[in-house]
């Protein structure tokens, strides 16, 4: 993901990243494509072997690098290709989700979902909905690095 390129006012298009598991959601997204479903083009997919591989750091990094929203998706509980990866991931995401909530992070920027290989339609709905919600929120400015980097202790200590 490249640097935050300025966009003309009033034409905000969210940049979104989706971290998806290889076995279910990626295949589901593929199905959505081959079924020629039309959906929002804002999402870039990063394919991982399993939701169990998705460290919350990935999500933080995506936001740091300029994403306005993130989707995390994998196999439905019980369907994990590695038996229990998504169960472990679910606990981790639950804690992460609640922590972000406590920090006041805008919840609509982060979407967790289970999408199976046959749920191309569900994937389209998840994407369209997630993009719509982030579009409504506007760009993610919480991490505006350049606004602060190089400035002095001054001004932010207040």
């Amino acid at each position: 993901m490249e640097t935050n390129t300025p966009q003309p006012a009033g034409t905000f298009e969210p940049r979104m990243v989706a971290f998806v598991c290889n076995w279910c959601t990626y295949t589901g997204a593929d199905l959505a494509g081959t079924s020629r479903l039309t959906m929002e083009p804002n999402v870039r997919i990063v394919r991982l072997p399993c939701t169990g591989r998705i460290d919350p750091l990935f999500i933080l990094k995506a936001l740091e690098r300029g994403a306005d929203g993130v989707i995390v998706s994998g196999c439905h509980p019980g369907d994990c290709h590695y038996t229990s990866g998504n169960y472990h991931a679910r606990r981790r995401f639950a804690v992460f989700h609640d922590l972000l909530q406590f920090l006041g992070f805008e919840e609509d920027r982060l979407t967790f979902s289970w999408v199976s290989a046959s749920e191309g339609m569900k994937w389209k709905d998840i994407v369209d909905d997630a993009v719509a919600r982030v579009r409504a929120l506007g760009p993610f400015r919480g991490y505006d690095r350049e606004a602060v980097a190089g400035s002095e202790l001054a001004g932010r200590a207040a």
């Binding site: 933080l60 679910r90 606990r91 639950a94 804690v95 406590f102 967790f112």
Partner: protein, 290 residues
């Protein structure tokens, strides 16, 4: 106090241990002390100023302490939770340490405080204490004092924060984090930050940038809290050390609450207890997943 000193003297003179890690009366209040000879045992104290979690000296990162030989450590009931976690994560072996438990009726916020223990001066971590009688210890000394005065200011603060609109909470934490200078003191004092190389020090790839700008500060603080989920013993040393006064213990406390609500887990001094994030139930809540 005499009971503690006598025990330390015995352990040192019969060669059970080479060092007793306890508290002494320092120039600015109570502080950790390392007693290596029976004569030195007279220095040992325990009173309400002994807020420090001495389990942190057992961390394998502190090789200069390990060099002294086998250690006996004086622990309050709450400190034993950190020892239990070190045992649970195979950072130390039970037979390599002697635990001297002290019965505790609460400690001050400030180890230099000469005030009597009241709801205003008592450390946040003492509220609702259920380990005045330490478990896990090889020896337990002292009389069981009264329960500490309760001050639920921190709990109330967490409730207030939770009741705020998200944007105000975000504002609160952004303001607090804006003071962070990324000194990593919170990590260095933590008894459970045992990683040989911390994620923030890793450069290939660089997951968390080292600068003090919002992205990096948030990434660090979230990661720190996340890595301590189900591990933190709520000793509060991170918040006590923070040169910027960031209420890190509030974050840790909230994590504990999340673990309690979601997985019915509370910090424990049982070294055999399963780690909540190393386990799962097929019916774990997933209302946040679509």
């Amino acid at each position: 106090m005499k009971e503690l000193q006598d025990l330390a003297r015995t352990l040192l003179s019969d060669g059970t241990v080479q060092v007793v890690i306890g508290w002494e009366d320092g120039p600015t209040g109570a502080r950790p002390v390392f007693v290596t000879s029976p004569e030195g045992a007279d220095k040992l104290i325990f009173d309400t100023r002994c807020v420090h979690n001495l389990a942190t000296f057992l961390s394998p990162r502190r090789s200069h302490v390990a060099r002294l030989g086998k250690a006996a450590v004086v622990v309050k009931g709450c400190d034993a939770r950190a020892v239990a976690m070190l045992l649970r994560e195979s950072q130390i072996k039970r037979e390599d340490i002697v635990l001297i438990g002290v019965r505790c009726g609460g400690v001050q916020k400030d180890p230099a405080s000469k005030e009597p223990l009241t709801a205003a001066t008592v450390a946040d971590k003492c509220t609702g204490c259920d380990v005045r009688e330490p478990h896990l210890a090889d020896h337990v000394v002292g009389e069981l004092p009264q329960a500490p005065p309760n001050d639920d200011a921190r709990e109330r603060f967490i409730e207030e924060l939770s009741a705020m609109p998200a944007s105000e909470r975000w504002e609160f934490w952004q303001t607090a984090f804006a003071r962070c200078v990324r000194c990593n003191a919170c990590r260095e004092v933590c008894p459970l930050c045992t990683c040989e190389r911390c994620i923030v020090d890793k450069t290939q790839p660089r997951w968390i940038e080292p600068s003090a700008h919002p992205a990096a500060i948030m990434a660090w603080q979230i990661t720190r809290a996340q890595h301590h989920a189900g591990r933190c013993s709520d000793c509060g040393e991170c918040a006590r050390v923070c040169p910027a006064g960031i209420p890190l213990d509030v974050l840790n406390r909230e994590m504990a609450r999340i673990l309690q609500i979601r997985f019915d887990y509370t910090a424990t001094d049982d070294p055999e207890a399963p780690a909540p994030l190393g386990a799962f139930r097929t019916d774990d809540g997933q209302e946040f997943i679509r």
